[in-house]
């Protein structure tokens, strides 16, 4: 099976000489959910920016079908002058989907993320968690094969965050995309992923990799199992090692 997203020895040096990434290699297959954890400023987000072509790698090569990418930003980036429905239609609109199909696709996505009944609200009328759901729905409309998440739940309170983790996993199982997720939270990383990658400080490199053995669907109670805690401990240790 061909990988949906492949980093082959990707390096990134910015014009000002900052070396953000030094030779990163890994692959994500369809149906895999890979999370990258690492210290602040290690170039985690740069990985996503390269994958989505917002930046171009200076070394190596990143292979991915750029026409089939969903990107979820740190904040919801909803357009405040559009209603929830119009926001969710935006990406389909930019891809030139006609109005009827767009409405239908958007409604499916709205139902999928549980925003039914909020279609005509404006973003400022929504809570942070609901805004993030709308942001997810917006990317879901085009049914991307690769989904990039740049710390999407970092600003949310813990309960909302855990609920959205479960929602996202449900969508992941339903849609079968390849996920690349960035987070600061180790337990979030272990809970969500098929694989957790640990990145070193700048220039970022993958220094450790953990396959997460738990079956999907994963229940909330998984977070309290000894095996879960053990893996979190190992990732945490690796992360401490990456800092020095």
């Amino acid at each position: 099976m061909a990988a949906a997203l492949a980093f082959n020895n990707v390096g990134m040096t910015f014009p000002d000489g900052t070396k953000a990434l030094g030779g990163v290699s890994f692959e994500i297959n369809p149906g895999e959910f890979v999370t990258v954890v690492g210290p602040s400023g290690c170039g985690k987000s740069t990985l996503l920016r390269i994958a989505s072509n917002l930046e171009t790698e200076t070394d190596g090569k990143c292979e991915v079908d750029r026409n089939s990418i969903g990107y979820v930003f740190q904040d919801a980036t909803l357009l405040p002058w559009r209603t929830v429905r119009k926001n969710i239609e935006l990406i389909a609109e930019l891809h030139g989907i006609n109005s009827d199909d767009r409405t239908k696709l958007a409604q499916d996505a709205i139902n999928l993320v549980g925003l039914t009944g909020f279609e005509e609200k404006y973003p400022r009328q929504l809570s942070g968690g609901m805004r993030m759901r709308a942001s997810l729905a917006r990317s879901l409309v085009m049914k991307p094969e690769v989904f990039l998440f740049d710390e999407p739940f970092g600003a949310l309170d813990e309960i909302t965050r855990e609920r959205l983790n479960d929602e996202l996993l449900r969508l992941f199982q339903l849609e079968g995309f390849a996920g690349l997720f960035i987070t600061h939270s180790i337990s979030e990383a272990v809970y969500m992923s098929t694989k957790v990658l640990v990145m070193s400080a700048r220039p970022g490199q993958i220094v450790d990799s953990f396959d997460i053995p738990f079956e999907y669907p994963r229940a909330h109670s998984l977070r309290y199992e000894p095996k879960f805690a053990e893996i979190c401990g190992q990732v945490s240790l690796a992360l401490r090692g990456a800092l020095v």
Binding site: L79, W81, L90, L94, R124
Partner: protein, 298 residues
């Protein structure tokens, strides 16, 4: 009027007291009370009228009192008398006011079209911004009235001359605020559009212009106010026989020492400015009130 340079030094909309701003954030019910909403303005109005009486009957030296008749005389002769003799009464005031309104509205319309187009060019082409910005700043700092002899010499036709003065005076806030709005879009929203291959035009239409609307409306309101000033001031310098603008009419009343008509004309010109201000406030509320709220600390 000599020495008036009509500088616009600040384009932030400070012209309304906070509680009158149309796009005010919703306030809690208990904050609204009779005193602050109604009694306050009424008391200030009564104080103002009282001071006016005092001024026109006591404070001014007797030989100057004819220029500031008492309020009831202004109401009686300026507003309640429709037409009397030549040029007296409300009718000639309204006729010349209407003349100025036309000039202000046409000038503002032209300003909006050219100003928005220029701001769009400046926002999408950096060299355009670099090339024109210094001259725009120079234009808004220049005393437009000092240019009136030149305008008179170069341009034929009174109407054209008056409209040009309005455009020159009202131009800068529109360009400045529109440009600022177009260039203030959130980076991640731009990136969202980049990710999905949006063209420059799509980006302008679906991202930059909607995002700039609150700023554009601030610019519109300032420019609308300035267009009224421009029209009234232009009247002083560009006039000919027949119907004259309200500015020229005010000057005529001053010359004939018709105090009541003079004051009535000034009040009506001010009401015109106020109406324009409120109109654009309402327009702004209709266009962006649903999603845009102003915030303030307490």
């Amino acid at each position: 009027m000599s020495g008036t340079s009509l500088k616009v030094t600040n384009t932030i909309d400070q012209s309304a007291p906070p509680s009158l701003r149309i796009d005010d954030a919703p306030r809690e019910a208990n904050e609204r009370n009779l005193f602050s909403d109604f009694a306050g303005p009424v008391i200030v109005f009564i104080l103002f009228i009282g001071f006016w009486y005092l001024l026109s009957t006591k404070l001014l030296p007797p030989q100057k009192r004819f220029l500031l008749p008492t309020p009831h005389r202004v109401v009686d002769e300026g507003f309640l008398t429709w037409s009397a003799g030549t040029q007296r009464g409300l009718k000639p005031i309204l006729i010349s006011l209407w003349d100025s309104v036309k000039v202000a509205v046409i000038g503002l319309f032209i300003t909006i079209i050219i100003g928005t187009a220029l701001a769009t060019l400046m926002a999408t082409r950096r060299w355009m911004e670099r090339a024109t910005w210094p001259y725009l700043v120079a234009l808004q700092s220049a005393p437009i009235l000092a240019m009136t002899p030149l305008i008179r010499a170069l341009i034929d036709g009174i109407q054209l001359q008056r409209i040009l003065v309005v455009v020159l005076i009202a131009f800068f806030p529109i360009v400045n605020n529109t440009l600022f709005g177009l260039l203030s879009v959130d980076t991640s929203q731009h990136e969202l559009f980049s990710l999905h291959g949006a063209s420059k035009f799509t980006r302008l239409r679906k991202l930059q212009f909607p995002a700039a609307m609150p700023n554009i409306f601030v610019g519109l309101r300032i420019s609308a106010g300035l267009s009224v000033i421009g029209a009234v001031v232009g009247d002083f310098y560009f006039r000919q026989g027949g119907v004259v603008g309200i500015g020229a009419q005010i000057d005529i009343y001053r010359g004939r020492l018709w105090g009541a008509e003079l004051i009535a004309a000034i009040i009506l010109a001010s009401i015109f400015g106020l109406v324009v201000f409120i109109l654009f406030g309402l327009l702004s509320k209709v266009a962006i009130g649903k999603w845009h709220t102003t915030t303030r600390g307490r």
